[in-house]
Amino acid sequence: MSVWRFEAIGAPWEIETSAPLPTAARSAVEGVIAEFDAAWSRFRDDSPVAALARGAGSVPAPPDTGDLFATYSALSDATDGAVNPLVGASLESLGYDASYSFAASGPVSAPGDWRDRVRFDGGRLTLAEPALIDVGAIGKGRLVDLVAAIVAQHVRGDVIVDASGDLAVRGRSVRIGLEHPFDPNRAIGVWTVTDAALCASATNRRAWGDGLHHVLDARTGEPVRAVTATWAVAQTAMRADAIATALFFDGGARLAHEWGVQWVRMLTDGRVEWSPGCGAEVFRTTASVEP
C-alpha cells in the first residue's frame, strides 16, 4: 500500500492506495480541496462565506451548496434547531475565529429562523441579513467524499481517505480504533468498516479551556456537555459526519435510525451507547450492560 500524507483545511490527511497516486491524481485532489476551502472557509476573507458575512447579500453559489444545505435542513429538523449552518458567529463569539484568538466573549445563539434567511436558487446563495455560515458539521465529510471519488477515478483497488477523524474506505475492510476521548493512547472499541465511511467527533481536541470547544448548541451558543465523543458509519462521509454531529443532541439517534446509520457515542459521565444492530465492538464490562 502507498500512503500520501498532507495537511489541508486545518487537519492532517492520509490517502492510502494500492499503487502510488499519479501526479495528475494528486493535482486533482489538491484542486478539489482548494476549491472547497476557497468556497466554504470562514477562516479566509476572500471566500464567499466571508463576503456574505460582510454583507454582500448574494454570491454565486459554490458547488455543493444544494447538498450541504439540504443536509443541514435535515439536521436542524431532527435536533430541534441545535444544528444550524449560521452558527459561525456563535463559534467566533467563543473565540474560535479566523485569527484563532480563543478569546471568549460569551455565548451567542444562532438565528433560529435560518431557513428564512438563507436562499439558494438560480445558482446564487443569498442571505437576507449578513451572517457567518459555518459548514463544520458536515463540510469535512463532504470533502472526504469528493476526494475519495477523485482517487477512485485514477487508481484501481482499495482506497482509504483519512482526514483525521473522518474516513472513507473503498474496497477492503479496515479495522479502526475508537479513540478514548479522555486518553488518546487507548480505544473504547474497534469497528471494522468495509466499503463505507466512518466519521468521528469529539470535544477533547479543538478545545481551548474552561469547557470551551467546537461543538456548540446553536440554540444557546454554548458548548455541548452531555456527550463527549461520537462515531458513525454510513455510505457517505457527509452523512456519517452529519450523524456524528447530530448525536451530540436530542434527536440525533432518531435521525440515524431514519437514515440507517450505525453509531456509538460516549457520554461525559463515561457511559457508552450504541445503535441497534451496531457493528462496532465496544470494550465494555459485562456487568455494566443494560439491558
Binding site: 479495522r175 478514548h180 440525533g252 457511559r271 450504541w274
Partner: protein, 140 residues
C-alpha cells in the same frame, strides 16, 4: 401523613423503565433517614425526584411510594419526559448502553486506523500554546 421530598435528586440510571424499578428498591429504604436495611419505616407517603440525562436535556421523574404497615403499598412514577424522544430511547433508537467501558491500549489492538476528534494542525496548536503561555504569565 406526608413527607416530601426526602431527597431532592436521586440518580436513577439512564432509562425510564430501569429508573423506575431501580429507584424503588434503592430509594425507599434509603429514604428513611439513611437507615440501613432491616430497619423499620414509618408509614406514610414518600416522594423523591430522580433525574437522568439524555443528550442535552436532563429529564426528571417523581417517584412516590406509600408505605403501610412497613411495606410498600403503592408506587407511583410520574414521568413527564420533556421531549417525546426520551420515551423511546430504550428500544427503537438505542441498541445498548454500557455504564462503563474499558479503554484498551491502542498499541495492543492491531488496528490500522484510529478515529477520534480531528487532529489539530499547526495554527490551532500554536494558538493554544500561546494562550497557555499568556495564561501562565498572567498567573505569575
Amino acid at each position: 401523613m406526608t413527607r416530601a421530598p426526602h431527597r431532592s435528586v436521586v440518580r436513577l440510571g439512564a432509562l425510564v423503565g430501569v429508573a423506575g424499578a431501580l429507584g424503588l428498591t434503592a430509594c425507599a429504604p434509603e429514604s428513611s433517614a439513611g437507615a440501613a436495611g432491616g430497619e423499620e419505616f414509618a408509614d406514610g407517603t414518600y416522594s423523591a425526584e430522580g433525574s437522568y440525562s439524555t443528550p442535552e436535556t436532563v429529564e426528571t421523574i417523581l417517584v412516590t411510594v406509600t408505605l403501610a404497615d412497613g411495606v410498600i403499598a403503592d408506587v407511583e412514577v410520574e414521568g413527564s419526559p420533556q421531549r417525546p424522544e426520551s420515551e423511546q430511547y430504550q428500544g427503537q433508537f438505542i441498541g445498548g448502553i454500557a455504564d462503563e467501558v474499558v479503554g484498551k491500549p491502542i498499541d495492543d489492538l492491531m488496528v490500522s486506523r484510529v478515529a477520534g476528534s480531528s487532529l489539530t494542525s499547526g495554527g490551532f496548536n500554536q494558538a493554544i500554546e500561546r494562550i497557555r503561555v499568556e495564561a501562565s504569565e498572567a498567573a505569575g
